[in-house]
Symmetry: C2
Subunit: 262 residues, 2 copies
């Protein structure tokens, strides 16, 4: 999916919601399979969101069967939503080539989350596919972000060094950044460095970030945000009404987004 198509979906659905598919068998209604759960969540939220983000760890821990469920989930989503393989990959060039192939050729994902630590040759293989995207970690929403991302490096925090360098390797048409919602005022500094890039924003919902604060400081001329919610939608109810409850929570967020776009 290219940038123009993504923006068109956002405008049409009045939503920049990404539903995170962190599917945990221990949290599903009794007797329900991961794949059936995912399909029900997707059917209940299709018109309310523009992106789905399967968290690869939750699938690969089930071995070959988990990998099959991931592939079938991605295929079930189809091509009207932006698909993010949340895999945090990154390795030397010839290995990153294989990771890119995994998610872009073997599976029809639109994007992969990528860890920047190993530098340019670890990111560039993800930028070689037309209409596919690298979503590079910049400032994450977890407590450990303080350990390295916020350390000052040559006068700037590491995450700003990452934004500055990585934005030169690709373009706003093939690169996004992960920026957590838990430090919303930092979006001002971030937008000074990458005014046009889309940002994938976890941390609204279960982690406590504020949607309106993120939008106040982070929105750009094309919206420029994909706001992820995982647990707050997937597990809005633990009963047999989980899909309706997921829809209600997604709808609540979509209506808040619609008001913020207007």
């Amino acid at each position: 999916m290219n940038r123009a198509q993504l923006i068109a979906h956002i405008r049409q659905r009045e939503s920049f919601l990404c539903v995170g598919l962190d599917t945990d068998p221990n949290k599903l209604p009794a007797g329900m399979s991961m794949l059936d759960f995912n399909k029900a969540i997707i059917d209940a939220t299709r018109d309310l969101c523009v992106a789905y983000k399967p968290n690869v760890a939750f699938y690969e821990c089930h071995g070959p069967e988990g990998w099959r469920i991931l592939e079938e989930t991605v295929r079930y989503i189809g091509n009207e939503h932006f698909i993010i393989a949340d895999a945090k990959r990154g390795d030397i060039g010839n290995t990153s080539d294989y990771y890119a192939k995994t998610f872009f050729s073997s599976m029809p994902c639109d994007s992969v989350t990528v860890a920047p630590y190993m530098g340019r040759d670890s990111v560039e293989p993800f930028l070689q596919y037309p209409d596919k995207w690298a979503i590079v970690l910049a400032l994450t929403s977890n407590p450990g972000a303080d350990d390295f991302e916020l350390l000052t490096q040559d006068g700037k925090p590491l995450y700003q060094q990452v934004l500055t360098k990585v934005s030169q390797w690709g373009t706003p048409d093939n690169t996004m950044f992960v920026v957590g919602a838990t430090r919303p005022t930092m979006f001002e500094d971030i937008r000074a460095i990458v005014p046009h890039h889309f940002l994938l924003v976890p941390g609204v919902g279960a982690q406590g970030g504020s949607l309106s604060e993120v939008c106040k400081y982070g929105m750009n001329e094309d919206i420029g945000l994909l706001i992820n919610a995982s647990r707050s939608i997937l597990y809005a109810s633990s009963g047999s009404d989980f899909a309706q409850a997921a829809r209600l929570e997604a709808q609540r967020m979509q209506e808040e987004m619609k008001a913020l776009i207007a």
Copy 2:
């Protein structure tokens, strides 16, 4: 495998060689399966090395079938060698839990390579399993290492900040670091920070690093090094004699190691 067992294998085999299983179907003898190739390489090198390192990217790009080959390869290696899942994982705490479960519970690996960018809660889940190890990226052997790892951060290069902080989260009994062979003199600075940790060293062989230089600056009282070679062993011959050729190359390295230990 615990530290004492690893050291005993090194002393007994007079080797600290790790064979990297970066198995590429396009480089195998005609008609040979990935699994049969891996088994032949393992059988040809068992007595000459102490560790095997499957590069997970090369397996997961083949989907569920690739994942099955990875599992069968790990089981075939058995428990007389230290098994490294070279996966470069790392995510927020609850997701890293799943990655740790993947490689330590679902599969009998001894260790996983971990990217440090997201900080403490992304690494700690890998330190919760007895006799299992996190091998954290510090200074890698690829050109992109210059981009962030070598940037000066609060007066020290980022990779030294990583060594300093991460070594406080675990111990030399459950934490190793990746340090590439391509900058051997930097091992002096590294040993000043982590004198007792084992280091996993890629970059000898195809990438041009020198084994004797690495040992000169990097060896400690327990050897403290695992030297990886992948392509130079796996593809020493492209013909039907690939296993014998792999053994000869592994033997050449083991003999060099034996002389350096003495």
